[in-house]
Symmetry: C2
Subunit: 245 residues, 2 copies
């Protein structure tokens, strides 16, 4: 066990430390540096539906999901709830808000019971960032990754046809199973997914139905099976909704 516990309040428990270490852009970090980061961290538990922070609140920390899931959402001026992001275990969020915006731009809410987070307090972390130049590349990498995600999203939303947006989104989801029957788990409720893709739940439902009728998709609740990946890719790229491509 690391015997350095008197400089800081009790560090987070080992499994959480592991989560922190596994963070994509913290992987290369020197163990001793990582420990100093952990010194800014504490554990947070949330019940399902509990609000972690609200839009407009001063950004004082960033977070890493250890278990459960966090949904970042906001209300559009049109009155829709928009899921900006759904964060899975092992991913971090709100770094950019901490580093620059000053305020959280979205609501953050736990979507599962007993969601566990690592909270990294902003002030000591920023101090550490100034003192330790080795930390900067990790932060820069993390920001670039977030940027790449957003660019993806902009491109997706620029597609005029609802079917293209959905198909493209599906292509970006983690899939499992054999190539001729790819399984995709929807991490969101269908109505949330619809809002995410700037369409109504009805339109989403009809798209899924049509693709089932066309025989290249199966829907079982919140799990989809793609029977023809080429067809999906074509739908993502073509403005022709009719298929026959």
């Amino acid at each position: 066990m690391p015997a350095s516990a008197h400089r800081r309040p009790p560090l987070i428990a080992p499994p959480l430390l592991e989560t922190l270490r596994r963070l994509p852009h913290f992987q290369g970090l020197a163990p001793e540096l990582l420990e100093r980061v952990a010194g800014c961290a504490r554990e947070r538990h949330l019940a399902r539906g509990e609000l972690l922070f609200a839009r407009g609140g001063a950004a004082r920390s960033f977070f890493v999901v250890h278990a459960g899931a966090i949904r970042l959402s906001r209300l559009s001026p049109e009155g829709r709830e928009h899921v900006v992001h759904q964060i899975a275990p092992g991913s971090s969020f709100a770094e950019a808000a901490l580093l620059s915006f000053g305020r959280y731009p979205v609501d953050a809410q736990a979507t599962e019971e007993d969601t566990v987070l690592v909270e990294i307090a902003g002030e000591p972390f920023l101090r550490l960032l100034r003192e330790e130049e080795r930390l900067a590349p990790a932060v820069i990498g993390s920001l670039c990754a977030r940027l790449a995600q957003l660019v993806e999203r902009v491109e997706e939303l620029s597609l005029v046809q609802a079917g293209s947006r959905l198909a493209r989104w599906l292509l970006r989801q983690p899939a499992s199973g054999p190539p001729e029957r790819l399984a995709i788990d929807l991490a969101l409720q269908k109505r949330e997914l619809a809002a995410h893709l700037a369409m109504t739940p009805e339109t989403l439902s009809r798209l899924l139905r049509r693709w089932q009728d066309e025989g290249w998709l199966e829907v079982e609740g919140s799990r989809l099976f793609v029977l023809d990946a080429a067809r999906l890719a074509a739908t993502a790229g073509d403005s022709q909704p009719d298929g026959t491509a």
Copy 2:
């Protein structure tokens, strides 16, 4: 370091150096550090329409616009040309590609005659970034700013109604003149703006006509005059008499 130790790129001329210094996130930098950054820089001139880099090319530099304008665009799978960004003098671009993606994700093209750029070579800049911890905050700040822009854009594109998207975009444009007759210059051609907002040129044209007919907008070529800012804001926010919740 190798053979070409003395192949120091010629320092850029004073006005360009000034442009570099004025870069938002380089402002606080120590003069001597800024000079080292300038040591990675060289001047670039482009004719109107000339391609600076193409999508997919390896990202070896980032750029600052000194005069003229650069358009970042790409072709959507649907075949539309999509202007991802229009860069005005004093702004930088392609930092994120350099820092992380490895490849440029868009085409970059000069939209004005004799567009002048500062090109900062990636390799020496990255080396400088590693050596000089004081540079990292500037880079992080710049990335965060870009991130904020993209979030704006995602929110804009999430608006379902074309009128909302246009109104919201207009609200974000620099305006001049008295509040009761705000002048907004369109930096893009109308067809480019339409693509940027995920609509057709016809729809854009009809929206502008309708707002003129409603009496709160004037259009003179590529210059708009907003006679009723509140009306514009209302159009951006709740053009839907709706309550989908």
